[in-house]
């Protein structure tokens, strides 16, 4: 097991390196006309603001670090060559608009996205696991058909549409609208939780639907195994057979699938945070994309990619730990 963990960590290094190269390339290969576009946008803003200071093309290139050879740019950005102030030191760049380190804003917004993601995953699993299991143990009954319909609807209904419908129709017919003001967890724990539940459920829909189907299929397969027949013939109660003997084995592949879906759930935060006006990373990304604030875009991409990398590692390790049949070489 230790050798497996070690090997897995070693394999992460080239991946991590390539991730940084890709993020770096993303902003470095900005088409030239975007620089011009930013120039005109800056010029307009500074005229509107009445600022005397005009942004020059050289200044813009300098602030993006585009005025030195490409490998030096990469080294500087990463923080491995002087002035040693890059990604490794926790400096992911400076916002082009707010003129402050992007990490300030990102750090204040990470908890919101994290909470939304956790709520989404928990509600999705709370719905998916019981319904999926029920569907399997009562195969081809009305309840099974109902469960399968819910699953396929959860997968097929676009989350941004459901979000829009909830906001529009709830305000027309129920005279209820989600709070457009963010309530921090420390100030108003209950209000905060209420605020996150509906967006969380909508964000977890895809995860919920796929987990439901996967749980059902896996349970059906496991329930046909010999050891389940043995458990029944020993006279064990249904509860024990299902929970202790069947589910434990059926859920192993489900765990790995949930890991694969986490990036999709994370990506959903962009849509959900936009619709429900939750000040998280996703909303920040959209704002940054609209303003062409490239340091933010690259920083968010880098952070999310590293997050996914870590989640993948955890899933792989937990998979190896859960399933003793897997040989870790």
């Amino acid at each position: 097991m230790r050798a497996y963990i070690f090997r897995r960590l070693i394999l992460m290094i080239p991946t991590l390196f390539l991730v940084t190269v890709m993020v770096f390339a993303l902003i470095r290969f900005i088409p030239g006309n975007v620089i011009d576009l930013m120039m005109s946008e800056f010029a307009m803003v500074s005229v509107l603001a009445g600022a005397g200071e005009q942004v020059t093309e050289e200044f813009l290139k300098h602030s993006l670090g585009l005025d030195v050879p490409i490998h030096i740019q990469y080294g500087r950005w990463l923080g491995v060559i002087p002035p040693f102030d890059g990604v490794f030191q926790g400096n992911l760049g400076t916002s082009l608009w707010a003129n402050e380190p992007v990490m300030w804003e990102i750090r204040s917004r990470l908890p919101v996205s994290f909470e939304l993601g956790v709520v989404a995953i928990i509600t999705a699993l709370l719905l998916a696991l019981p319904i999926g299991t029920y569907s399997a143990i009562r195969q081809d009954t009305l309840g099974d058909y109902g469960g399968r319909t819910v699953a396929i609807l959860a997968i097929s209904l676009p989350n941004f549409w459901v979000g829009t419908l909830v906001i529009v129709y709830a305000s027309i017919y129920l005279h209820w609208a989600p709070s457009m003001e963010y309530l921090p967890l420390v100030r108003d724990p209950l209000g905060n939780l209420v605020q996150f539940v509906i967006p969380g459920i909508i964000m977890g829909m895809v995860l919920s639907g796929t987990t439901m189907r996967m749980t059902r299929t896996m349970m059906l397969e496991v329930l046909r195994q010999d050891y389940i027949r043995t458990a029944w013939s020993k006279g064990l109660r249904e509860r024990t057979v299902i929970l202790r003997h069947a589910m434990k084995n059926a859920l192993i592949p489900v765990v790995s699938m949930i890991g694969l879906l986490i990036p999709i759930v994370i990506a959903g935060s962009v849509v959900i945070e936009t619709i429900f006006a939750l000040p998280g990373i996703g909303l920040l990304l959209i704002t940054a994309l609209r303003q062409r604030d490239y340091p933010y875009i690259s920083a968010i991409n880098l952070i999310l990619a590293c997050g996914v990398l870590v989640i993948n590692l955890v899933v792989d390790l937990s998979y190896a730990w859960l399933d003793p049949r897997i040989q870790y070489r």
Binding site: I155, M214, L260, P263
Partner: protein
């Protein structure tokens, strides 16, 4: 698959086999997968509507009737009108065209990218495989929608850009499926035999490997269509996909219309209904195709990828 007479040349055999695969797929779909047929019917309807949009739509896609703005569904405007007085039904009909382009174009690009990377990486193995797979690994770390948005903001909105970004991005992810299938096949005796008689790598890949990995390749195409349409709608919804006034189902749910939806709730309803039914149809059709072609992948991920499984489901 039917037995082929021995005298026939390999060319004829392969032609028969590839035709056999699709015909076989079609017959089994009707026989074994009633839900898949439902999906196929929905997809066919949308396909016809998209092709004959000019005849189906009662008004032009950007025809403005300012006197009838925010009108409720009526005999004149079946699904109502939007904030500029454009007929929603007509716009949804023309929107089907955009979805058709994105669905087919994006899936075709996905399939080609996945086949190209998967064949090369799986067939040559060794250092080629190792380096290509680390690249794919790194690519798969980026949450899909986030990377689509980031690249789209650099390229600017537009139909071509959407197809390019979605197709390439998903193709790189899906190449894993093809690679796995190739690795399973290249150890076969007939590949060794082909090499023994001096066939070039290109010939082995094209004539011996590719025909045998057609099942996963068709599956990738089938399950990608719905994903493409949904992703395009999401991008357009967020304002980074197809620019207005071109009617895209996602775009119709966002933008300037959002403020008017409280007055005209049908504006929020119908584009989504169209989108959801197409995605549903493509999902069940894609699942049915996958179940028939590749029983090992049965059971799980809907439109979002695949599950690694060791034993085939009974």
């Amino acid at each position: 698959m039917t037995e082929e007479p021995r005298e026939e040349s390999t060319e004829v055999q392969e032609e028969r086999k590839s035709r056999g695969l699709l015909a076989d797929l079609f017959i089994r779909l009707i026989k074994e997968k009633p839900l898949g047929v439902v999906g196929a019917v929905i997809v066919l309807i949308v396909l016809l509507v998209a092709i004959f949009a000019d005849f189906v739509a009662p008004y032009g896609m950007n025809e403005i009737h300012l006197w009838d703005r925010l009108g409720a569904p009526s005999a004149q405007y079946w699904l109502g009108t939007d904030n500029l007085g454009r007929c929603l039904f007509s716009r949804i009909v023309y929107g089907a065209r955009i979805s058709l382009y994105v669905g087919l174009g994006g899936s075709a690009l996905t399939t080609m990218t996945a086949a190209f990377i998967g064949l090369i990486s799986g067939f040559f193995g060794g250092k080629t495989d190792m380096s290509m797979q680390r690249f794919v690994d790194a690519w798969m770390c980026f949450p899909p929608l986030v990377i689509y948005l980031s690249v789209m903001s650099l390229l600017g909105p537009g139909l071509g850009q959407v197809i390019l970004v979605l197709g390439l991005a998903r193709g790189i992810r899906q190449s894993r499926v093809v690679r796995g299938a190739v690795i399973g096949i290249k150890e076969n005796v007939y590949v060794e035999a082909a090499r023994a008689i001096g066939a070039s790598n290109t010939k082995i890949l094209g004539r011996h490997i590719l025909p045998n990995v057609m099942a996963p390749i068709i599956t990738i195409f089938a399950v990608s269509c719905g994903y493409m349409i949904l992703s395009e709608a999401m991008l357009s919804f967020l304002g980074f996909g197809i620019p207005p006034p071109t009617p895209s189902w996602g775009g119709m749910l966002s933008g300037s219309g959002r403020a008017y939806m409280y007055e005209a709730p049908w504006m929020a309803l119908w584009p989504g209904v169209a989108l959801a039914s197409v995605v549903y149809g493509l999902n069940v059709l894609g699942d049915a195709v996958r179940d028939i072609l590749d029983p090992r992948l049965r059971g799980g991920l809907g439109r979002y990828g695949r599950v690694k499984r060791k034993r085939p489901t009974k």
